[in-house]
Subunit: 131 residues, 3 copies
């Protein structure tokens, strides 16, 4: 699956896509693993609410600031902070399903967060295991 | 599985329940995925030691403090910090098993940490995949 | 699988081992779960670049410093910070595979990071599920 993010801090809700993949698969019980094969984006679970989306951006900058003199930035990309934040938030999340329905909470969404310094085309893998 | 947490920062050890679920399942080799379907609690692996439990509470408040003017809090819940901490600590953890035994380390426990501002009834899913 | 880390902050690339395990298994499609059964080491995904490796060490010390008066340290190990960092970075990561190939990005590596205050022998479990 391919998506395009709109800029740094963009949060894209993937829950609908995970549900569709499960529906089309015929799987009944198991785990859906959502994985982003990029080093400067993260996949995790959160409530997808506008205030919280801006809080996530703000707290990332407070705790893992851009101006930290990253050794990685001597390469010229200027995205040392993006890599650190991606490793902290994670790039893989697994959600159980039963009776062909995702066991996700009412307020939970599986999201991708763009952490690089601009929008990017992003690939995503939704992998189902089980029966 | 349903549990009740006793208050913010409460850490509940789930390792015994994961072992029971595995024992009752007949599965021999695979992965146990422990998932909490709530946005203000976390599931992760740690040593379950009293000093460390208080350290986890203290460091969460230092790094992701309650008084950060969360936009999410304008809704009135006052739990913006809970959401942020939950996304950072994670809501899903997978532990391998072989020979029908959990491959967890001697000092490791799978725990749920209550991050909301009070005790809550919490649902948990322990999902096994493999054979 | 057993490895020996060289000291605190040592980052060991496990990607080759995960690929070998997959190749030897005969599995075609599923999830590879990499798990470290120790409480003071972490397993996660990052770009394995020298600048970034030193950035990870530096930012861990900034955000989760050794001198935080950890209650855990009264036991004498002096590794309260190691436990906290390990719980934050995580001890389990799942990577999908298809057509018997790991779906990992060009710049991604699965790594173990030593977080205890010295090198250690470390056990690792690479568990495959799927078909």
């Amino acid at each position: 699956m391919n998506i395009a993010t709109k800029g740094e801090g963009d949060i894209v809700d993937l829950t609908g896509e995970v549900r569709e993949t499960l529906k089309d698969s015929g799987f009944k019980a198991g785990i859906a693993c959502v994985f982003v094969p990029h080093t400067t984006a993260a996949v995790f679970v959160t409530e997808n609410e506008s205030g919280l989306r801006s809080d996530l951006v703000r707290i990332m900058e407070k705790v893992f600031p851009k101006g930290f003199g990253y050794a990685h930035n001597t390469g010229g990309d200027g995205n040392g902070h993006s890599h650190i934040r991606a490793s902290i938030l994670g790039q893989s999340v697994s959600v159980p399903f039963n009776d062909a329905m995702l066991d996700i909470g009412t307020w939970q969404s599986v999201v991708l967060m763009e952490l690089d310094n601009g929008g990017r085309p992003r690939k995503l893998i939704i992998q189902l295991v089980g029966e």
